[in-house]
Symmetry: C2
Subunit: 370 residues, 2 copies
Amino acid sequence: MVRRPALTPLVADLPPTVPFVGPEAQERDRGGRPFRARIGANESSFGPAPSVIAAMRAAAPDMWMYCDPDNFDLKTAIAGHLGVACHNVVVGEGIDGLLNLVVRMMISPGQPVVTSLGAYPTFNFHVAGFGGRLVAVPYENDHENLDGLLAAVKRENAPLVYLSNPDNPMGTWWEASDIRRFADALPETTMLIIDEAYGELGPDSALFPIDVSRPNVIWMRTFSKAYGLAGIRCGYAVGEEGFIRDVEKVRNHYGVNRMALVAGEAALADQAYLAEVKAKVAAGRERISAIARDNGLSPIPSATNFVTIDCGGDGAFALAVLKQMIARDVFIRKPMVPVLERCIRVSVGLDHELDIFAEELPGALKAARG
Amino acid sequence: MVRRPALTPLVADLPPTVPFVGPEAQERDRGGRPFRARIGANESSFGPAPSVIAAMRAAAPDMWMYCDPDNFDLKTAIAGHLGVACHNVVVGEGIDGLLNLVVRMMISPGQPVVTSLGAYPTFNFHVAGFGGRLVAVPYENDHENLDGLLAAVKRENAPLVYLSNPDNPMGTWWEASDIRRFADALPETTMLIIDEAYGELGPDSALFPIDVSRPNVIWMRTFSKAYGLAGIRCGYAVGEEGFIRDVEKVRNHYGVNRMALVAGEAALADQAYLAEVKAKVAAGRERISAIARDNGLSPIPSATNFVTIDCGGDGAFALAVLKQMIARDVFIRKPMVPVLERCIRVSVGLDHELDIFAEELPGALKAARG
């Protein structure tokens, strides 16, 4: 037997998990047959603003230069947008990259990390990757359970708790006042990650006002969703100066690509386009909800760019509906954990994509029932 | 005193290091005065191929889509280019990102990691970031010291050793036959990282042929240097199937941005442009070397896109030369460790940038001496 270099015990024991199977992989598995509607990954089918596309095109010849490792221009723009200082902001390779860093900074093997059962799998992937012990609190009425999360934090003495608001995969949200009560009740030694990936798309009243004097809350936002830039990998975290300075000790300083910095800055500058997208997303949510109701299903009110639909049966039935939709060339996804698994999740797409969704859903439901 | 969430002991103890200060930060420190020649970061002033720029521009509107997390198309192209299988390739956010992953996978706190004294600082940053103990072997005759590295690996029983070939910051190289002897002599339980960031720019005879049946060698290459895409963050690692599969357990699956995947694929497809760049880089090396000799300095033969120049004095003198060049709006860098510190490092730039270098060097030398 060949002797080989050893992995750390932690990494050696990790399972060979892939958090998501991408639509491209599904298309390859289907012999290359493309989806007709790509409404499963909560991407923004409306795309980035024309001004952002123009900025990216103009910057293409500059890609021979490394990025500014300080991300100065984008951080300045974000700080100005949010009314905080540059030293309260760190830019990362999407929220995914920032979650990796925060987990790495705070979690030693065996330490408890609290999240909701069925919440963002990539966060769980990072927790597992650094040896954390995941404590997952079930949703309550399709909302992340603030009281349950708080109780779990206290019971476990957890140094880290994750909350998405608005929530994925259910699309529900808490008002800022509820989040504030939750944050105020947390132990000072527990860091709260508020993942606001969908923050621009819900009611403003759901946004827990950023307060960089709180040393135990870190806000995360992204250009992936409302700004239509999922592919460019650009997110940011906002928090207390000392914590942000600590992130600098471990982040990959040249990790955010130059195109992302250009695109992020241009996106932030085009708030008129963001307003257009918000209106289109709201209309799209209404349309998906109406299609669901027309088919006897129950859409869950959403503050995001997707609608999660209660199919009215068990997980097996919703999975059958999902598979029928995939077979009809409609890419959607669904939650997989108990209770939530009764649902499918449909992203707001272009009109013609929602037309296809409306056309195919009745047949999918019939086949799933049959 | 405010109680706050605790970092892991490892991260809490890390110093607040930034591996490099970017030219943009230097320009800001100079009150915004721009450099006239950007020939310090071993970027490719020749830029990406026109075909690559066109591909990026065409792809800009697609950035609303997440990347294919399998990076299937680019991996297929790389595998075809190198004559290996897709399962021998992993794409990362530049070599920097891949170094982070390999260190994380292999190094538990306190374990020794062998490198050369003065070699790539970002590798050292990652080793420190995961608690490794760096064992740095001095260069010998401006080459990484293969015998010394081997002795250090054996003495320390190190699980990981880093070698760049061609080397940065000296530009020197070993022939493949030397690397083979080194690799063959390593313990089977030691992983060798061969960083070939400059691999396309040196003699083919310096490229240690990729052999994916070796479980203890991982080759790393990038689109940052010869392909002129430093800003897009796209590198790849090639190795034995089992190790690549292990990388999948920890890498950020959506971490490589979609634009990077497009650019990398287009770059690989345009080997004619690469050949042009190689010729321009070779000519640029000759020119920098001639300018150095004209000023009484000793250029070190280079297989990269830069020339490291022995200024003929001590570290303080070379630092004075560097500062004089910076003051003259010429961005260059220099090695900082003993022996190597007698040098400055100049990247191959455009003709007009090397004109400026030639114009300013005599004055900088005179001022540094005076």
